[in-house]
């Protein structure tokens, strides 16, 4: 029994069928708990007032925007090395979810930035690198859409993802060099020194768990859809070859 058994599309669909509802239920539950706890049962920050509560959407979505790209990078590598179709399809499935997360992070950041910094947008390194990440996502999805042969598309997008990762990282440090920022440092680092206070920290962790689960559920769901689309395509092609019209 190894993890690679799930690389079989049939096995993947079968084994995720019972898990998927639980994933969605758990994601919904932790999001509701985390957001309600965060919005109604934590005190207002003494400087930021109630606007601080955007943190419960902003930080988890920003985290998942980056993690989605990392997941795409790993699955792309797996596809290039081991040629498991599920892996390539999972990367394809994760991209639109990652785009959405990036947009949520940018939008909530803008809404938060207006009362705090007095501006919706500043060319701050963190904001700018998220915008660049968004552009990378767009290019990746556009390349998937542009190529009709599924294996070629999977190969080319995987290479793009790997090269893009290098340049995204490079851009991240280049914009640091280019402009000093308004954005605060890391909200969640392992050394506890500069973290947010405990009252905000605990519901935030629940929200992050909710976003992780939601991301997993959406990616699994979309991967299953892609697998079925692939199967339909194969069936149609077989039907066309044998001359039987569907």
């Amino acid at each position: 029994m190894s993890i690679w058994e799930y690389a079989n599309p049939k096995k993947f669909v079968e084994s995720t069928t019972p898990i998927l509802p639980w994933l969605f239920a758990l994601a919904g539950l932790s999001l509701v708990v985390g957001l309600v706890w965060g919005f109604f049962f934590t005190p207002d920050d003494f400087r930021q007032g109630s606007t601080v509560k955007i943190i419960y959407l902003h930080v988890p979505s920003a985290l998942m925007a980056i993690n989605a790209w990392l997941m795409m990078l790993v699955t792309s590598l797996i596809w290039l090395v081991r040629r498991h179709h599920v892996s390539a399809l999972a990367a394809k499935a994760a991209a639109p979810v990652g785009i959405t997360m990036t947009l949520i992070a940018l939008a909530t950041g803008a809404i938060w930035g207006q009362p705090m910094w007095g501006t919706y947008w500043a060319w701050d390194p963190r904001l700018t690198s998220f915008l660049i990440l968004f552009l990378f996502y767009l290019g990746y999805v556009a390349l998937w859409e542009a190529i009709s042969d599924p294996d070629t598309a999977a190969d080319l997008t995987s290479v793009l993802c790997i090269v893009g990762s290098v340049f995204a990282l490079l851009s991240r440090y280049a914009v640091n060099f280019w402009n000093q920022g308004l954005h605060q440092g890391a909200s969640l680092s392992l050394d506890k020194e500069e973290n947010v206070a405990d009252v905000f920290y605990q519901p935030l962790l629940v929200c992050i768990a909710g976003f992780v689960l939601l991301f997993l559920a959406l990616v699994v769901l979309r991967t299953r859809t892609e697998i079925r689309l692939r199967r339909i395509r194969a069936l149609e092609m077989r039907a066309r070859r044998t001359g039987v019209s569907a």
């Binding site: 660049i132 290019g139 390349l143 290479v159 851009s171 060099f177």
Partner: protein, 218 residues
């Protein structure tokens, strides 16, 4: 490999090669900017490094889809792929030819265009150096982008969406070097970073381009 570079150069310079188009585009973009932002000399001086770099970027982008598309259409690309020359060397030769026909002339033309934008006198040497150092990276990254989209009809628009985000670090360091040079600050750090990017792309991009070319020719 030398023969391939010379062949590409000859094709680019001859009629229909579009050699002058990129330069003309560069000129037009730079001329349009003052119409958009107004003729105040101070503003122009401040934005000149950025405008020149962005315009050079776009002009280089314009000729990227020609790198492989023509060879792909007339069938000489598969011949090149099966020739004794490794495909990595073909990609490198193509990038070199692209640089000689766009990057190098852009670098030289940028100096008189700097006058139009009222570039600071101290910045000219840095502009020349930064463009000379940075444009090879543009050609190399662009070769990879062109190889990615070679089999696609209407790949041009997609090519710009794929390649422009990859140009961000080059643009940042290139424009920053010229800006610092113009203000009399030390510009060594961005120049070194720019050189690093060029060296890194020179080492990696021919391989990446050859990899995606093999996939596209499969």
């Amino acid at each position: 490999m030398k023969a391939l570079v010379l062949r590409d150069l000859r094709l680019a310079v001859r009629a229909g090669g579009g050699f002058g188009l990129g330069l003309a585009f560069f000129l037009i973009v730079v001329v349009l900017v003052p119409f958009g932002v107004g003729p105040e000399a101070d503003i122009l001086r401040r934005i000149a490094p950025g405008i020149l770099w962005v315009a050079a970027l776009l002009a280089a982008l314009l000729s990227l889809d020609r790198i492989f598309a023509l060879d792909f259409e007339d069938g000489s690309l598969p011949l090149l792929a099966t020739s004794p020359l490794p495909l990595e060397a073909v990609a490198l030769a193509k990038a070199a030819a692209h640089w000689v026909t766009t990057g190098l002339p852009l670098t030289l033309v940028a100096v008189p265009l700097g006058v139009l934008l009222n570039l600071a006198p101290e910045a000219y040497a840095w502009l020349l150096a930064a463009l000379a150092l940075g444009t090879p990276a543009l050609s190399l990254i662009g070769t990879f982008g062109a190889a990615l989209t070679v089999g696609l009809r209407r790949g041009g628009l997609l090519l710009s969406l794929l390649v422009l985000p990859l140009y961000v670090p080059t643009l940042i360091f290139g424009a920053e070097a010229v800006r610092r040079g113009g203000e009399g600050l030390a510009a060594t750090v961005p120049m070194l970073m720019l050189g690093g990017i060029t060296a890194g792309t020179l080492a990696v991009m021919p391989f990446a381009a050859a990899l995606v070319l093999r996939i596209n020719l499969r």
